[in-house]
Point group: C2
Chain length 469, copies 2
């Protein structure tokens, strides 16, 4: 017989989808100051939903020094003898460009073939709505939540969470909890029951190469001045060696090679490499000496996310630009200190700048270390039990190559571990055109969230003590 809370939540799915469409219609691109209204609209929708569910103390949190995009807080502390869980999600989304590569407008959720398309629908608006509707169903059916729940819905996840440490520090008492359960993250594959137990860290910066005071005509100056695009290309080309390793001295400090056991565990995970690469029309490429999953989970990377300079319009312009730009981010693994890794890359770049060019570094992206959940953490065990209950399978423990600044910041500032329990799937075009969310993930997610809350209710709060730092 279906859990009455789950039955209620499943019945409400049409309204959940309507709520989700309204939320996607708010273009909450935190990276773009022009989208401020979209951010505000998203906040107001989320706040209205929290009030409707019956959450208390709904409020916006900012660091003591103000600024940044506020996070939304709410709580229901219904069970004083039970654990207190901080549930995390985020309402901000990635930019939508290149807009012309979307089949339908990015901020208009469109349903086709069992999927909802829209920017942010999978990362993280859909998974967030699953968590909220689960909590709503408990309140509606049982009049209370089975555990104490605090909600923290961030607005700066896609821009590196620069305010999150300050928010956690400033509101330490309000946010105090036994562990963090995240509705962000992603299921690795639709066909596999798995739990993410690790994520990569990240850091980044933007750089500008300048070679002259103004743009120059290649007929008047070609051959006698440096071209900043050539300089920038050489700098970028110098960042990786022929075997795909990052050439910045000190970048790998603290990185441990996967152990034979880890390599064996990873090798045992069902993974069809041909399918993976066929789906994105790409060929495997990466650091020599590692398998694809080892590269993705256990090895740090560096990518130029954007590079530009000179004339990029239609046709030809015989200009030697005077400046060129690149945006760079890195993915980091356990053992790496983000600032050390970033400084290693900056030192390398600075050492490569020729005397006829200048290099400027700017653009604070926020940064965070990699994270791993202890294998015997009570919340992780609850998640395993919940998925065993809803799927009949023991979830594989996998990692993700992406970064969750949350996990590192929560660990550093609050001394807590985070379990990622998202019902997004990693193939849903996050951060790319035609982002989508599977409609089938909604009932799966509701069932799992109902069950994990019931599992947490079985935990003695004292069991979390050894894992609090």
């Amino acid at each position: 017989m279906t859990d009455p809370v789950l039955a209620h939540a499943l019945d409400r799915q049409p309204q959940l989808i309507e709520d989700l469409k309204r939320l996607v219609a708010c273009p909450s691109v935190g990276a773009d100051p022009a989208m401020a209204q979209g951010m505000e609209d998203a906040r107001q929708l989320v706040e209205a939903r929290l009030n409707a569910i019956g959450f208390r103390d709904v409020q916006r949190l900012t660091p003591a020094d103000g600024g940044g995009q506020p996070a939304i807080f709410a709580q229901r502390l219904d069970e004083s003898g039970k654990p207190t869980i901080l549930v995390y999600a985020h309402y901000d989304v990635q930019p939508s460009d290149p807009v012309d590569k979307w089949d339908t407008p990015p901020f208009e959720a469109v349903e086709r073939e069992g999927r909802l398309y829209g920017r942010g629908i999978s990362d993280d608006k859909g998974p967030m709505m699953i968590a909220l509707d689960t909590l709503a169903a408990f309140v509606a059916v049982e009049g209370r939540l089975p555990v104490n729940v605090k909600l923290l819905i961030e607005g700066e996840e896609e821009t590196g969470s620069p305010s999150l440490p300050g928010i956690l520090e400033t509101h330490r008492d309000l946010l105090a909890a036994d562990a963090v359960l995240s509705a962000d993250g992603a299921r690795w594959r639709p066909d596999l029951v798995a739990l993410n137990v690790g994520s990569r860290g990240n850091t980044g910066f933007e750089m500008r190469v300048q070679t002259a005071g103004r743009d120059l005509h290649s007929g008047r100056y070609g051959g006698i001045v440096a071209n900043p695009l050539h300089v920038l290309a050489s700098l970028v080309a110098s960042l990786h060696d022929a075997q795909g390793a990052i050439r910045a001295s000190g970048f790998y400090d603290g990185v441990a090679d996967p152990t034979p056991t880890e390599r064996a565990e990873i090798a045992a995970i069902p993974y069809d490499e041909d399918d993976t690469f066929a789906a994105i029309a790409a060929k495997p490429h990466g650091e020599a000496g590692y398998s694809t999953l080892e590269r993705l989970w256990m090895r740090p990377t560096l990518d130029v996310n954007g590079l530009w300079g000179g004339y990029t319009g239609v046709g030809s312009k015989t200009v030697i630009p005077n400046e060129a730009f690149a945006k760079i981010t890195m993915r980091l693994v356990p053992g790496q200190d983000p600032e050390t890794a970033k400084q290693a890359v900056l030192s390398h770049l600075k050492s490569q700048v020729p005397p006829y060019a200048t290099l400027e570094i700017y653009g604070d992206r926020g940064q965070g270390g990699a994270n791993a959940v202890p294998p015997d953490h009570p919340l992780l065990k609850a998640a395993v039990a919940a998925l065993e209950h809803t799927t009949g399978q023991t979830p594989l423990k996998v990692r993700i190559g992406a970064s969750l600044p949350l996990t590192e910041i929560v660990s550093r500032v609050m001394g807590l571990d985070t379990v990622m329990f998202s019902f997004a799937v990693a193939d849903e075009n996050f951060h790319a055109p035609n982002e989508f969310f599977r409609l089938s993930s909604i009932p799966d997610g509701l069932a799992a969230w109902v069950q994990i809350l019931r599992q947490i209710a079985q935990i003695d709060p004292d069991d979390f003590a050894p894992y609090r730092r």
Copy 2:
């Protein structure tokens, strides 16, 4: 006593400036299809002026197969026993971007401190108006021109003159002349009386590197797929060696090193390198083993004029783009075949493409070889005599690093030599923001154009015969 034709032309300078301002207000950017009306407006203004001057047979010329931007033709054949000169100019201009670097709007000619600012004002609308007003003054004062003049005012100079060969072939009889006198080109420096006797050739293309079927999230794919910006950066970095020479095998085929005599002549030209580079806030940089002027006049070059890919907006986006683009042009010297040089670069690039990326080449830029005027050519001698008359100095013979497709095309298709007789100055921000034209160049140019036409009137048309091919 001032030549009465010159006196008339000098008196009309205020109207010339008004005419020029109206012409600059037509955004005749041939490279941009969105600017078609600006091209048409510029044509109509020029045609109206030619009719007002008293030119005959004013008409638009296109190749037999149509297409492209038409050139404007007009003629006055007033002196059957005198030489026939084809006067060349162009009405199209470079794109105006980056528009935000202009101090005043690019298509609004603004006068300040003895200069007129505006896109195309120096290249080539101002110099063209000087030629036209000189011809107008002859007709107004003497009722006729002292030599036979045909005008060819092109609309595709800034896009590599792709239709010009076809126009010259199709209208060979209409355009037949003894030599070509160009109002395009540039005086090397405002302080030096000089004539340009050589120009570099050019060729180019656009390229696209692709590594996947769509943009990817660096957290989901970072480290396991290639980044096209890394591949493109490596391709660009591979194009020059550490000494600044171009690495494409065969690119230098046919290029002769400057002889000791040429090196001595170039070394004797007054040239303040410190001033040159201070003016553009750049440091000298180029191929090892050559002086700055040797690099500029005698050595071929390759420049990336634009490069782009990935996220280039505000803030950070952790994307691995699936494609990256670059626009490349080359400057060529005598002895180089443009197609051979271009194919050498393409072969080099193709040989460097890794197996996990594809390279697509496209974008026909038109191309032309380098050019040099024979030292004893009658029209060159007339130009020397004209400048000696108006300045009291014997002009230095210099080259320019820029390309004039005209000279190569006219030589190849019509078998004629071209003398460049522009009153633009090479420091006037051609192809860059804040292009300007010195007001003082107008009286200087009018005097020289009156004088060169009088000098040409002294030449026996048969003297051109040895130079026609």
